[in-house]
């Protein structure tokens, strides 16, 4: 007996969810996180196919096939695949589902986590350091903030994946993660500007070059206008300045 007749225990879900932290443990170019998915979904499959080693083996083999996605959102794939196995969805549909899901899980996760959340947390840590916090506390601030979001995403992804099953596509479209990725963009820019300003202040105050703050602000304003008019080139220039400013700062400190 298996599939839809089996009631999964909370401990099964907890085991599967906690294993998603190791999802990239055997990443390779051939199957990418395929083995990690199989490892994570195994506690669910063992319960679903208890007493049926043939179906268990088949489902594990299916789970081992190539898969890729954002590592945090792979929890959604793990839960949804477990749900499909429990609902006794045919293997061909499960394979199509796996193939389709690896795209959006990567895109949504890359945009929200790598593109917005991680830079924001880095900037918060940097800003707290520049404003006077110790290096240790700034690092702690970064780690706590970043991982609060990280773990929340993993929990949400797993719960929603289990609830939605085959319908995760509709769930992902317009999900809060996507909306927040859009909303966090101005926060990211604001923090970038804040860090740049504080760094500029440090450079000016420590530099022997006679640059007044007003002149520097004026240059910043001209730079901002140019970046607004030519966003692609302006973005590169801003990134260059963000890299070069700390170096100037360090150089200023070293040369006294």
């Amino acid at each position: 007996m298996g599939g839809a007749h089996v009631r999964l225990l909370r401990s099964d879900h907890l085991a599967a969810w906690s294993r998603t932290f190791a999802i990239q443990g055997s990443w390779n170019y051939s199957t990418m996180v395929g083995a990690g998915i199989a490892y994570a979904v195994l506690p669910l499959l063992r319960r679903i196919h208890a007493g049926d080693p043939v179906r268990l083996r088949e489902s594990v083999e299916r789970s081992m096939r190539p898969f890729n996605g954002h590592p945090y959102l792979c929890a959604m794939a793990v839960a949804a695949l477990g749900r499909l196995e429990q609902d006794e969805v045919d293997p061909q549909t499960i394979e199509k589902f796996r193939t389709a899901l690896r795209g959006p899980l990567g895109t949504v996760g890359d945009r929200a986590v790598w593109g917005q959340w991680r830079p924001i947390c880095v900037l918060v840590g940097t800003l707290s350091f520049l404003l006077g916090a110790s290096a240790g506390w700034s690092a702690v601030a970064f780690l706590v903030l970043y991982n609060a979001g990280h773990v929340a995403v993993r929990v949400w992804a797993y719960v929603k994946g289990w609830q939605a099953g085959l319908e995760v596509g509709r769930l992902l479209k317009g999900a809060w993660l996507e909306r927040w990725a859009e909303r966090l963009w101005p926060v990211n820019i604001l923090l970038t500007g804040g860090v740049a300003l504080v760094l500029a202040d440090v450079v000016v105050s420590q530099s022997t070059v006679p640059l007044a703050s007003v002149a520097l602000l004026g240059m910043g304003a001209i730079g901002a206008l140019l970046a607004f008019r030519f966003p692609r080139q302006g973005g590169r220039a801003a990134a260059f300045l963000l890299v070069i400013a700390p170096l100037l700062w360090l150089l200023g400190g070293l040369t006294g």
């Binding site: 170019y29 199509k96 795209g103 890359d110 593109g115 319908e167």
Partner: protein, 162 residues
């Protein structure tokens, strides 16, 4: 001519395409050429879930793509055409649609019958034949996973001279 990227990538709409290429090239719409996907609503929902609201996507069969190519190639904005495998792109090339276009080989991952030629490109004998045919009927085939990545000519992947 608004279709500015022609890419073979079995993952279709994923991070490298949408964020890596799409943001760099300012892509406004995607055309996914795939017979199975063109008739499967739930799969279309999943594939398009990663797109921003303002970005459009059409899922069309190979036959529809050939028939509607001029329309798809003259829309407002910039477009990207994606196929899951080499066979679909070969069909477009042999229909004479890619004569002045360069084809980007983006991601074909390993299977039992494919050999690895790049970390992100694995080719079967059939894939190689398709790519040679596309190469002859287009402005060339090159492999590159991301815009910042190294571009590798088809001649470095397979022997293109028959």
């Amino acid at each position: 001519m608004t279709l500015i990227l022609f890419r073979i990538d079995e993952r279709l709409l994923h991070g490298q395409v949408i964020v890596g290429w799409g943001m760099r090239l300012g892509i406004d719409y995607y055309v996914v050429v795939d017979d199975d996907l063109s008739t499967s609503d739930w799969e279309q929902d999943i594939y398009s879930a990663g797109l921003a609201d303002r970005t459009e996507v059409d899922f069309v069969s190979v036959a529809d793509a050939v028939e509607r190519f001029q329309e798809m190639d003259s829309r407002d904005g910039r477009g990207a055409l994606l196929t899951r495998g080499t066979a679909e792109m070969r069909s477009l090339a042999e229909a004479g649609l890619l004569s002045d276009r360069r084809v980007n080989l983006g991601g074909l991952h390993g299977t039992d019958c494919r050999r690895r030629v790049l970390t992100y490109v694995h080719l079967s004998p059939a894939d190689e034949q398709d790519l040679k045919a596309i190469h002859l009927k287009s402005n060339g085939v090159t492999a590159r996973d991301l815009p910042v990545g190294r571009e590798v000519g088809l001649e470095d992947l397979v022997d293109v001279v028959e």
